[in-house]
Each structure stands twice: as C-alpha cells, then as structure tokens.
C-alpha cells in the first residue's frame, strides 16, 4: 500500500515496490534482483539492506535461504583512498 514510498536500499534509493515487482516478474535470485534494481550496490556494500533483499527474494519465490551468502561481498569492504591502495607498507 505504501510500498512505493518505502525505501529498501538507502544508498541507491530502491523502493520496496520496485523490488517486489522485479522479484515477482523474474522470480530471480537475490543476486539477480540486485543487478536488476541496484539494491545493495551502493556505498555501504549492502550492509543495511542485504537481509531485506534476501527476504524479499524468499517471499516472492517461496525459496528457503541458501547456506551460501546470496549477495556476495567484495574487497575492499571499507572505503579506501587511492593513496592507500598504492601504498606498500608491509611489516
């Protein structure tokens, strides 16, 4: 009812309505849902919305949660500046 006004992914401002519509029409995995809507692809790496996106996927496809993490993580998992990436300060 208020789903178009309910933001799920704050970083990319993806609404619940968009996510449910996409999940229902493609009956897809969380990963595909993310790629189609950009939910979970923002600055926070999905830390705020990944559980929500997973639960939308499960409810729309009637699947149970897989043991492998549905929305994978990728390094770097924290913001880093380019100077850090170039730095070589091994100990």
């Amino acid at each position: 009812m208020r789903d178009h006004k309910t933001i799920i992914c704050r970083c990319e401002e993806v609404s619940l309505e968009d996510l449910v519509r996409t999940a229902e029409s493609y009956r897809c995995s969380s990963r595909e849902l993310k790629l189609r809507t950009r939910a979970g692809m923002g600055q926070c790496g999905g830390r705020t919305c990944r559980a929500l996106v997973d639960s939308i996927t499960q409810k729309c496809t009637n699947d149970s949660t897989p043991h492998d993490i549905p929305l994978g993580y990728q390094a770097p998992i924290r913001p880093i500046t380019f100077s850090i990436m170039g730095e070589k300060k091994d100990e």
């Binding site: 968009d18 189609r36 913001p79």
Partner: protein, 111 residues
C-alpha cells in the same frame, strides 16, 4: 558544556571536563570537545542533516553511528566520503556536507 550533551548520568557519572575543539561545518563555525566524533559534535550543535543523496537530493543524517551504513559520510578538507561517526574532530577541521551531484549519473538498467 552546551545543552546538547548529557553532563550528569545517574550510573555513568559526570562527564569529564574536556578541551574545546574549533571546527567548521560548511560555513558555520562550531565548537566541539576533544575526542568527539564529527557526528557527535555536529548533533550536539543541533546539526542533524549531514548530506543529501547524490542523485535524488534527499537529505540524510546519521543512521547506524558505528561505521556500517555510510549514511553520515562527509568531506573533510580534501578527503571525500569520510564517515562522520568514526572520525574524531581536530582543531581547525573543515567539514563539508555531501552535496547533490550537478549531473545525475547514469542509473543502471532497471528492467
């Protein structure tokens, strides 16, 4: 110490006296205290809005306060996307709120 802070606490006791730290947020000159995070010092000064969404312009403030959500990111000096909740204020620090980007970046295919 200003009204935004919890000076006396029935269990945790009285807040220690701390050195003042002067910093700016956009054009405003503000005072915080030694050891405070940017997020805490700004909130104590009544500043709730830290940035706006780069694309939609919607306003944002702190959300998780422990470094996970990235919502409190601000610019500090010439460093971009600094988490205000994890960064301690320094004397003379220039903090700038995150702005809407002039040209909307391209959204990925939705369908």
């Amino acid at each position: 110490m200003s009204k935004g802070r919890i000076i006396d606490h029935p269990i945790l006791g009285r807040l220690d006296e701390r050195e003042e730290v002067h910093f700016t947020f956009d054009e405003n000159k503000l005072i915080g205290y030694e050891g405070e995070t940017i997020a805490a010092a700004l909130l104590a000064n009544g500043e709730r809005v830290l940035r706006c969404h780069e694309e939609t312009g919607k306003l944002r403030g702190i959300y998780c306060n422990i470094g996970h959500c990235m919502e409190c990111r601000v610019n500090v000096g010439n460093q971009k996307s600094v988490r205000a909740c994890l960064t301690v204020i320094q004397e003379g620090m220039e903090v700038k709120s995150g702005r809407k980007l002039p040209t909307p970046f391209k959204k990925g295919e939705t369908q």
